[in-house]
């Protein structure tokens, strides 16, 4: 021991003590402090008060031991040993009471508790007598009073209750299925066993057993530290973590103390004059170096021994940074996973987003969960109301074995199968955005208080980040949708525009041709008339003059025809009429055609054509329609036949030298393909129509090439009119033709159904 100059007697006293004697005092102070801390934190709960009581008992024990070890007279020893028992007699009762906090209480246990306190009080009084302890036993490592009968009873009492509380714990262990509970209980059993078995060694010298009893003094310290930590952390578990932390701190303290003591002894050798100053400096040094040495130990421990030690502030800060830097939900999920994985080392992690409309969760990110193809999880009402709505983290171990209704149970079973440990809700302003789902940690540890605190802190930020990402996604999608809509609208506009352009083009074409058609006769009329006016015709022979007069008249007629045609064409396209119109009437086609042929008589004679009109023996079935339009259509067809059939016809048989005639045959009868229709056939042996021109024949302004030779003034509108009229009457018009041989035009029109005429079916013959 160090020997110093005479100073304060207390300090001298202190310096004269051995470690053994000092230790109880120091640990007393430590334990009492712990008790006060716990009491402060848990003022209202039983845990706090009971634990504090235990620490008081320990203090009594330790103080008594301290005094006992420092005094020498028997009388003093007995006095102080009895002092110790003031506290020790209450040990069984208070321990038992304390243990009941962690296990269920029932009538029996309550009864036992009351009995315990009764006994404790009894032994309290008994311990003042000689029936309890008296006399002194000195042995190698210390002193103790000798036990008597009262003490024997006390021993029975003591160990009865210790076994009782251990029994309670064991029953609890067996009955609970919750892993976390089991570990809690193991920890408690361990703590209480350590306390009482090691602490109990202190009783042995009372029975004259010489044993290194000071070891028992470690028990209260160990127990206090373990309990304190567990209680403060609230969750009482993760013994490994407790031990790890504890050991890191212990190592740090040992390092500091060793160094300090070493420095002190060195200083004492060389600077003995400045002992106090040196002490002071060393003290400051120790205080200052504790923190860095501790974090150094942490880092070493983290790196080489344990992986679940981490700096929560660092994790939180890092996550904040990462969350601020991205708007993409995938990146967010990745960042969270990275950072939290470093801290927790979980086996699996997932981020789910909540769909408000469908009231279900979609998996946004999954690392490690065996989901297969499952992307959607329904929202369970119970879990939602109980935990998620209140932004409370779900600890799966704690809820999984309780009783639930069928739906919730199903959901919980699914989650259990996936090995889910923790579900942290992500809420922004009372709106649920999604969930963070954690699987078990690799190390098998549970998620302790600090982990959960980190989660809670990070939670809010993550929720906001994910909401922002979702909004961003929505905006992007909206933009895409907008773009598509605009494209579609543009496309529609473009095609409408194309249509308009085509129409416009068609109109322009029509106008071009129409103007040309109109100008042709006009130019002749003007030319001729001007020549007459200028006297150019005066000296012409009369026949020639006649030719010119005729020219004016014919061209004027032509002009009118063209105007008429144009009016027809434009009115047809402008107005679609139907046979249901009021102007519809019942028409006899035979009569109609006969009338037209009458009008064309002159022309027919002029061209020396033969025209035959055939119809079935019976009266031709009547049709319903608009007379003028139908008349127009048939005029066009018949005039075409007349125009394009030369007087000699075209079906000239080379071998025959006979003069052929131009022949037009018109037949009326039932349509063999559709017995509800009447069919009109107009067959000529005229110039025919080239195959190339057939497809466009019925289109506006389409004229067959060879038609232009035969009849230069055709407008190309005639057949267009025919088609429009026939279509409008729900009929069909078509043509069969061979160039150089002739054409046959077919018109099929529906028979008027109210017709009472009994019409026999027959096939038209040629």
């Amino acid at each position: 021991m160090l020997e110093l100059k005479n100073k304060n007697s207390l300090i001298a006293f202190m310096h004269n003590l051995s470690l053994l004697q000092v230790y109880p005092l120091i640990s007393l102070i430590f334990i009492l402090t712990l008790g006060l801390i716990v009491l402060k934190k848990n003022r209202k709960s039983k845990v706090g008060t009971l634990f504090f009581s235990i620490t008081c008992l320990f203090s009594i024990w330790l103080f008594g031991t301290f005094k006992m070890l420092t005094c020498t007279s028997d009388k003093d020893i007995v006095f102080w040993d009895r002092f110790i028992y003031l506290g020790v007699v209450f040990m069984p009762a208070i321990q038992y009471h304390f243990s009941l906090i962690f296990t269920k209480t029932n009538k029996i246990r309550k009864a036992l508790l009351i009995v315990a306190y009764v006994f404790s009080i009894t032994f309290l009084f008994l311990s003042r007598t000689d029936y309890f302890v008296s006399g002194v036993f000195r042995y190698a490592w210390g002193v103790h009073t000798l036990a008597h009968m009262g003490h024997d009873f006390f021993m029975v009492f003591f160990f009865f209750y210790i076994f009782a509380l251990l029994y309670n714990f064991i029953i609890q262990y067996v009955n609970t299925g919750i892993r976390i509970e089991k570990r809690k209980i193991v920890f408690l059993i361990a703590s209480f066993s350590v306390l009482n078995l090691i602490g109990g060694i202190g009783y042995l010298p009372a029975y004259k057993i010489s044993i290194y009893s000071p070891i028992s003094l470690l028990a209260p310290l160990a127990f206090s530290i373990m309990m304190t930590y567990a209680i403060i952390v609230h969750r009482l578990m993760d013994i490994k973590l407790v031990m790890r932390r504890y050991s890191v701190r212990l190592v740090s303290i040992i390092i500091i103390l060793s160094v300090a003591l070493e420095m002190r002894s060195l200083a004492g050798l060389h600077f003995s004059t400045y002992a106090n100053l040196v002490d002071f400096l060393i003290l400051i040094f120790a205080v200052l170096t504790y923190a860095p040495i501790r974090s150094g130990c942490y880092r070493v421990a983290n790196k080489y021994f344990f992986s679940s030690l981490y700096d929560s502030r660092y994790v939180i800060a890092k996550i904040s940074d990462k969350l601020r830097s991205t708007l993409e939900i995938n990146k967010i999920s990745e960042s969270i996973y990275d950072m939290l994985n470093k801290a927790f080392h979980m086996k699996s992690f997932a981020v789910l987003t909540f769909n408000q409309k469908e009231k279900c969760y979609y998996v946004q990110y999954n690392n490690g969960f065996n989901l297969g193809t499952k992307k959607k999880f329904s929202s369970d009402k119970y879990l939602y109301d109980r935990f998620i709505a209140g932004n409370e983290i779900i600890l799966f171990e704690e809820i999984k074995n309780k009783v639930y209704d069928e739906n919730t149970k199903k959901q919980i079973d699914i989650l259990t199968a996936l090995d889910v440990d923790v579900i942290a809700p992500l809420n922004v302003k009372n709106k649920t955005i999604g969930l963070l789902v954690f699987g078990a940690k690799e190390s098998g540890d549970i998620y302790n208080e600090e982990d959960l605190e980190v989660l809670e802190t990070v939670d809010a930020q993550v929720a906001i980040a994910i909401e922002n990402a979702a909004l961003y996604e929505e905006t992007k999608n909206f933009n895409l949708k907008l773009k598509k809509e605009v494209e579609m609208a543009t496309k529609e506009l473009r095609s409408a525009n194309e249509e308009l352009k085509k129409l416009d083009q068609a109109k322009t074409d029509f106008l071009n041709i129409a103007s040309h058609q109109l100008r042709t006769p006009i130019s002749v009329i003007k030319g001729v008339a001007s020549m007459f006016a200028e006297g150019d015709m005066d000296n012409l022979p009369p026949e020639k003059k006649q030719d010119f007069y005729q020219a004016i008249i014919v061209k004027s007629e032509k002009l009118e025809m063209i105007v008429h045609d144009i009016m027809n064409a434009t009115s047809l396209t402008a107005k679609k009429y139907s046979v249901m119109d009021k102007e519809a009437e019942t028409i006899d086609l035979r009569e109609l055609i006969e009338n037209i042929l009458n009008d064309f008589n002159l022309e027919i004679e002029k061209r020396q054509l033969i025209v035959k009109l055939l119809s079935a023996e019976e009266a031709t079935p009547k049709i319903r329609g608009q007379k003028e339009y139908l008349r127009e259509a048939f005029i066009n067809l018949l005039s075409n036949a007349i125009k394009y059939t030369p007087s000699t016809g075209m079906t000239s048989d080379i071998r025959s030298k006979r003069d052929e005639r131009g022949v037009i045959k018109i037949s009326l009868g039932r349509d063999p393909k559709n017995e509800n229709n009447v069919l009109v056939k107009i067959k000529d042996n005229g110039i025919g129509i080239p195959a190339d021109d057939l497809p466009r024949l019925f289109k506006k302004f389409s004229r067959a090439e060879n038609a232009k030779n035969m009849y230069t003034d055709g407008t190309g509108i005639g057949l267009f009119v025919v088609k429009e009229v026939v279509d409008g009457h729900n009929g069909k018009v078509w043509v069969e033709s061979e160039l150089g041989k002739g054409s046959t035009f077919f018109v099929s029109l529906p028979i008027y159904s109210k017709e009472k005429v009994d019409v026999k079916k027959y096939i038209l013959t040629n």
Binding site: L518, T520, V524, K526
Partner: protein, 134 residues
């Protein structure tokens, strides 16, 4: 005497100009199709062509294009004389070196003969007609 080649298939027009040109002392050759055009150009000395566009199955400007391919007729004056009015057609006529594009219905035989006579005399041709509708 100026000889005009009238490329036209409308008999009434031909009738008018045969009389008129004769009265005014202009020689007239008529061609109603491509073959006749080239025959005429080969046989006679043509000073000016009055060219219609819609001739039977043919397009007057196609004929003109062929005419222009011959070295002799590259500079032969051509007036397009038609009732067909379309911008593309006018442009094509211009690109083929037509000196004018006249709508028959907008003019009179007298006006035509005056223009041709003036051109023959002075070598200067005045474009356009008086009764041009806007």
């Amino acid at each position: 005497m100026t000889r005009v080649l009238f490329v036209e298939d409308d008999p009434d027009q031909i009738m008018i100009y045969e009389v008129k040109f004769r009265l005014e002392g202009i020689d007239l050759t008529v061609a109603t199709e491509e073959k006749e055009v080239f025959d005429a150009l080969a046989k006679e000395k043509i000073d000016l062509i009055l060219l219609d566009i819609l001739i039977k199955e043919q397009n007057g400007l196609d004929i003109l294009e062929k005419i222009r391919k011959e070295a002799d007729f590259k500079k032969l004056p051509v007036i397009v004389f038609t009732n067909f009015d379309k911008k593309e057609t006018r442009d094509r006529a211009e690109s083929l070196g037509a000196i004018d594009y006249i709508i028959k219905a907008q003019t009179y035989p007298r006006e035509m003969t005056e223009k041709i006579k003036a051109f023959a005399k002075t070598g200067i041709y005045t474009k356009g007609v008086s009764n041009k509708s806007v």
